[in-house]
Amino acid sequence: MRATVGASRSGAAPAARAGARAATCPCVLGLLAAVVTGPRGDGDHPWRGVERSVLAPRIAVFAVLVALVVGARTPAGRVSLAGLTAAARRRLTPLAPLALVPAGARAGARAPGRAWTARRAGPGAAFVLAALAPLAVSRAGQQSMVNDIGLYALLALGLNVVVGCAGLLDLGYVAFFAIGAYTTAYVTSPTAMPWHAPFTVNPFLAVPFAVAAAALAGVVLGGPTLRLGGDYLAIVTLGFGEIVQLLANNAGGITGGARGVFGVPPLSVSLPGLHYAWGLDPLPYYYLLLGLVTVVMVVFGRLEAAPLGRAWAAVREDEFAAGLTGVRTVRAKLAAFAIGASVSGFAGVLYASKQFFNPDSFSLQASILVLTLVVFGGRGNRWGVLLGVVVLQGLAYALRGIVPPPDRYIYFGAVIVAMMALRPAGLVPAPAGRALPRSGPPVVPAQPGPAVPDPAVTP
């Protein structure tokens, strides 16, 4: 845009300057792309990789790309590009029904009057797709779908309640995951950790223990800290996460320390007439996780429309105003912390029952990864969060075979930056006005709060 304005205003010199300015960005990006995909250097020859990326014939590929981009951005190029896209769109029209699934899901979520089928079609299709997907990938892919997508989907959905729904920045979220995992080890096996319960239970029966422990930790952390806001809350939760990980690492006499925890029994069901144990095969674990994620999605969907969910939205949008209109803000925030923590603790049970874990799994980086997944997908929108997990973790997996493993984080980082620049609210942003219930009585207060001023609400 700047280029056209400059050109129309006066002579050739400003136009050239504006053109140079418009070309700078593609040139820099092209150089960066050449270096990123180019050969590597090492400590002894730090600049070799850069030199061989820039002073090599392959730079021509990027030069052509840059020229194309710059050309497409000139007024003439823009016109022809518009023609091309229009033509492409016309040609793609027969494929339009394929795009109907997400569109239908979105329309169903927004318009209350839509038919039952339209509202259910999207989620149903997503479920079927998710159920069939592992059959199409290798065993390593299935393993990754369990560890990187399934478990992280649970974690991200839980964190979404805290960060997306209630708007509280939690940088120590993985601590609750750790608490869930260690609690499981405590109650299920006499040998996994030096410190163990006087009884042993099946990992499924460890769920209430782990969820209770994590929720309790959430309340203990949240209780005193929730009057802090923004960056300060972030730092306190970060500190909490670090403390939990360091304790797990250092208290070798209790947790097994850095060595990790071995031998938590795998999940098993033993009922009259039904015996099943989850073994090393990733597929059963995947379907278990799929079921759990589905349950969590449904429950949280109901919760968002419930009074508590609307109280969260009110707190997120303006805590002060929410308090004045009768929302019990502290209670709502504590509930968000506790619910988010319990989901994380629950995921911890599943993680622990996969034979082995050590404190490295609960690092600050893991917390940051979960937060990134939530924000990337679209915080406050559980479908977006799910999609974010699948896209980003899937990308990480897909890059595994193409570039050396440590290098894939270069691409990972670039995708995140580009995504945030293009869609700051995430892949699938939360629809505005979520504070209003999407179905039900037309006019209700944000919280079926006290009509008579409650003395407990405001002092």
Binding site: V35, V36, R40, G41, D42, G43, D44, P46, W47, G49, V50, V163, L169, P224, T225, R227, L228, G229, G230, D231, Y232, I235, V236, L238, G239, F240, E242, I243, L246, L247, N249, N250, D318, F320, L364, I368, L371, T372, V375, F376, R379, P406, D407, Y409, I410, F412, G413, A414, V415, I416, V417, M419, M420, A421, L422, P424, A425
Partner: protein
């Protein structure tokens, strides 16, 4: 507020910039240190500028929610330090020892090595410089105005974009110089910036965000807590103590030690 956040998170990936300083030999140690500091600061400043352009400015243009900045910064940091790892190798790069002579100062049983004295000296000079820059120059005045209310500041004739870029570059310069000093003691590696970045953020929050003196106090306090905590209990527990005290202090003073008024994000 966002500047300090961003500057600190940006600082994380800038620190490796200090690694390419001390390769030439033959000059005196002091000249090497000055060159290293300058190279580190230049690399830090340049990468801060790039990060601001790539990861922050597009978001500002679109009025992104605050969390998006954090995630964008995390993405930029992943990109930058892994690219550094690819280009400069993933092994830790040893930095030649410049000062092998004995302590420069001994008080009783306490000996201060030349290197420690140098680090303290450089840090003191930089701190005084930043303090003066923020409190008594036009640039500092503009920075504070933008921090308080960007819209009003722009109506008063402050070029907000320029000030934000300037703040980023300043943060990058300091972090780059700091990275060089850090590498002199602990060697350089591509992931060396992560922990100091988090600690810097912690120290700034501890002291009270948006307050240079608070940040210094927070940094000193955090360092002392770690050292003495590690000494009194067990070295492996020093971070536990540091973070534990941080939590307690923030509970008592929710806006940091020197943070006068609560920052209300709305």
């Amino acid at each position: 507020m966002l500047g300090s956040f961003g500057g600190l998170f940006a600082a994380r990936q800038l620190v490796p910039g200090g690694a390419d300083g001390p390769t030439p030999a033959g000059l005196t140690a002091i000249a090497l240190v000055v060159a290293g500091l300058a190279a580190g600061a230049a690399a830090g400043g340049a990468s801060a500028f790039a990060v601001e352009r790539a990861a922050y400015r597009p978001l500002r243009r679109r009025g992104a929610p605050p969390l998006a900045y954090l995630i964008s910064a995390i993405g930029a940091s992943l990109f930058a330090y892994n690219l550094a790892g690819k280009e400069f190798g993933r092994q830790s790069v040893p930095v030649p020892e410049l000062f092998t002579d004995g302590p420069v100062l001994s008080v009783g049983s306490v000996a201060v090595s030349t290197q420690s004295a140098l680090i303290i000296g450089v840090a003191a000079v930089m701190l005084l410089g930043v303090d003066r820059l923020v409190s008594s120059t036009r640039f500092g005045q503009a920075v504070r105005a933008v921090a308080q209310d960007a819209q009003t500041a722009s109506l008063m004739g402050v070029d907000v974009e320029k000030i934000i870029t300037g703040t980023f570059v300043l943060g990058g310069l300091l972090a780059g110089a700091g990275g060089f000093l850090y590498a002199m003691t602990f060697n350089a590696s591509y992931t060396m910036g992560f922990v100091p970045g988090i600690k810097a953020f912690t120290a700034a929050v501890l002291g009270g965000i948006g307050n240079v003196r608070g940040a210094v106090l927070g940094g000193l306090l955090l360092g002392l807590l770690e050292s003495y905590g590690g000494y009194l209990l067990d070295a492996s527990y020093r971070d536990v103590i540091a973070f534990g005290v941080l939590v307690v202090i923030l509970l008592a003073r929710p806006a940091g030690i020197l943070g006068a008024r609560a920052v209300r994000a709305a």
